[in-house]
């Protein structure tokens, strides 16, 4: 178990190195000059700035300097905000994106299990039809449409009640988290609901449930111990990719709800060709996702003893 974990972590590190290298060379092949500005500057000033950021050195040397700094955990100074460290930017903005992502995953997981189980229990009846219709909507409507409509609906609701029940946009309180994380988790929730429904149905028709019923076990016990528990297991495997989708899908929600997350920062940095921020964000996200996948795998192995870790 420990050897396995260590091996996975080492592989993870190599993967992060690969991501960093890919990002570095992709970034330095972008046409355009990160040091150009709306008001043109003289060649002398540009040369000074290039020296400040080390852009005057040959690419290979820049690569080794960057990797060296990366190994020390230093992402460098932002190009767009010349007095801020990329490390500070990540430290300030990532917790926001992470909070949003964690809540969205939990909303999606809880909602998916709940609705999935419900539709399986009441299959082909009204609740099933309604929920499955909503699931279809959740799967087929782009998230930016949901985000915009959700915000508009909130304004209408606040207007209707005459008081501000939930904040329309921004960040800072519990109220600010609710709608954005719901919107963010919606697609995944719909997906998990479908998955849960089919896995529940499979179990409901299985022999051991029939046996349990025949034995006269209490209904609640059959449901929780035999049906729910076994049906949830397959969901955990898709949680890894789901986390990845949600963390990056956060861009849209952060843009629409004016949330100071790292995703919005990345989109702005790309427009500005802010090399250090782009590289820092990508490497950081990449590393984060790599280790999340490892964690999910380990957790799965721990929960489901049938899966042998090797």
């Amino acid at each position: 178990m420990w050897a396995y974990t260590l091996k996975r972590l080492l592989q993870g590190l190599v993967t992060v190195w690969f991501i960093a290298t890919a990002t570095f060379f992709a970034m330095h092949n972008v046409p355009g000059d990160p040091l150009s500005s709306e008001r043109a500057t003289s060649a002398e000033i540009r040369a000074n700035l290039a020296a400040k950021y080390g852009l005057d050195k040959p690419l290979s040397e820049q690569y080794f300097i960057y990797m060296g700094n990366l190994a020390r955990g230093d992402f460098g100074i932002s190009f767009a905000q010349q007095n801020r460290q990329v490390n500070d930017i990540i430290r300030e903005h990532f917790p926001v994106s992470a909070t949003l992502g964690v809540l969205a995953v939990l909303f999606a997981a809880c909602g998916g299990i709940l609705w999935g189980a419900l539709t399986a229990l009441y299959r082909d009846r009204l609740p099933d039809t309604i929920i499955m219709f909503l699931v279809i909507l959740g799967i087929s409507v782009p998230s930016f449409v949901f985000a915009a409509l959700g915000q508009l609906a909130l304004v209408k609701i606040n207007d209707w009640f005459g008081v501000s029940l939930l904040p329309v946009a921004g960040w800072g309180t519990v109220g600010h988290m609710l709608l954005p994380s719901l919107v963010l988790g919606l697609g995944t929730m719909a997906y998990l609901t479908r998955l849960m429904r089919s896995s529940m149905l499979e179990i409901i028709h299985s022999d051991y449930i029939r046996t349990a019923k025949a034995k006269g076990l209490p209904a609640a016990r059959i449901f929780t111990h035999h049906q729910l528990r076994n049906a949830v297991l397959p969901l955990i495997t898709v949680l890894g990719p789901a986390i990845a989708a949600i963390t990056t899908g956060g861009f849209v929600v952060e843009l629409v709800f004016a949330i100071p997350g790292l995703g919005r920062y990345f989109v702005e940095a790309v427009q500005q060709l802010d090399y250090t921020v782009i590289m820092g964000t990508t490497v950081f996200y990449g590393a984060f996702l790599v280790f999340m996948v490892i964690v999910v795998d380990l957790v799965y192995g721990w929960i489901d003893p049938r899966v042998r870790l090797q």
Binding site: V30, P31, G32, D33, S36, S37, R39, A40, T41, S42, E44, I45, R46, N48, K52, Q81, Q82, N83, R84, I89, R91, E92, T99, L103, L106, C110, A117, L121, Y122, A148, Q151, L152, L154, V155, S164, P167, V168, A169, G170, W171, G172, T173, V174, H176, M177, K213, A219, A220, F223, T224, Q227, L255, V256, A258, P260, Y265, V270, Q271, Q272, L273
Partner: protein
Amino acid sequence: MPKSVVTEDKFNRSAGKQLARYALVAVLALVALMYCLNWVAGLSSSGSAAGLTAIDVERNEISTFLRQEPPQLNSMLASDAVSGTILEHVMEGLLRYGPNNEILPGMAERWEIDGALARFWIRPDARWSNGDPVTAHDFEFAWKTALDPATGSQYSFIFYPIKNAEAANTGQLPLEAVGVRALDDSLLEVELERPLAYLEKLLAFVTFQPVQQKFYEQRPQRYGADAEDLLYNGPFVISSWVHGASMRLEKNPNYWDAERIKLNAINFPYITSDSATLLNLYRDGRIATVDLTAEMLEGAMQRRWQLERFMDGTVFFIDFNHRDNRLTRNKNLRIALNLAQDSNELVNSVIKLPGYLPAKSLFPIWMQGVEKTFREEYPAPEYPYNVELARQHLALAKQELGLSEWPPIVLLSGNTPVANISAQYYQEVFKKNLGLEIIIDAQIFRQRLQKMQDGDFDMVLSGWGPDYNDPMTFADLYSSWNLNNRGKYSNPELDALVRKAQDSIDPKERMDAFGAIQEILHDDAVLIGNYERGLVHATDPRLKGAQKRIFGAENDYTGAYIEDSE
């Protein structure tokens, strides 16, 4: 089998109950988790947007928004409108703009301008927010640091009228040679290259604000990075700044003219440029003012909002590439393109926002002339929309260029919504009226700049905003030495006129020169004017005295106050 249905129903009911119980637990756990996360987040960042309303009568505060995170609050490096807005609230230069855009004394109590020599006496009650007096040395330090080539300030060119500034900025002379000297703590002497007609207007610009050397040097690479990394001498201080999320300005008790400031605090709890989000925030009573897009006007009228309009001073136009072997070097082609379009249609039918005006000249309509506005004194010549004539010029151009077939012409543009609309509009207009194939090259900001600099375009959608209140800020744009002359237009006649206007301090002589420049830009450069940008905004009726400015803070709340009708 009715019996089995009953049992299944029973099973389901019991399971459903169990599920409901789980759901309840899950909801409670999630709520607890949210509070927990919020508490954890509260440890790392202070100040939240909680409970802030657009107008807080009791605490005498207002809340509004910033379009983006201010990228640079180091006044020597700041180059964008948002940073400028904040700096105008928390800093003050020698001079400042008053309510009617007149020049008022700021840190300088009085001043004398004698030809190429200007002297400024700093007021004795001018204080930094830490209690230190603001001295003439702070100005000398800030200006020379901004000029230092190692600083790399985009706006160092604004100092060029000062003696030896350009030479120092390009590294040909040491900084000591620059004509700025603090003779003592309260007297600043500025020596100019030559007498300058608009020196006072220039000095109100952000880059001329003071910086305390001691404070600056205590924060290597960090000056202006955070609220505590700035020393303030303006009407407000930044009391909290959560990057990317919010900012709060509080009244500065050390400001010399604190009585002038009526608001206790200005909150910027939202940092976003998404117009729909901002509209929703305004409707929800969270921000005191909002800019409207054309699509929002109908709803605004329906809600009986009081609307105002404002022109932000920026002129947009199509710049031609005058480099060798570019088709657009041909004047008849430029005239044909100009005649074949109608900026009235762009503004009235496509942009549809009342604040916008069709641009008829590089010099905007509000610019002051000698007595009246510049454009009243020197009416802009126009190319009237005339497709027939345009086609004749196009045929001439084809002959002159010896072409058998027109190759496609590249129109470089940005990727913002308005740029996209304009580019697509012109593409279709030129195709329809002249049969020319225009290919749009929509690029992200920095890539567009790079292409403009490299001359990798035929036409480019450009805009130019004024830096100071004198036609010179527009007039020298097409001088052959200006780096912002991206199409490399070069005309000795125009260069001479710019020099003449720079050397003169006689208003009439200068305006005549600008008038002649306007003619040249029309006759020879054949600039296609698009629009003068404007905006329509709605403001909470209780907020009075808030101003929008062409120069200085685009949103100025220093004179704002709350008028509560109840």
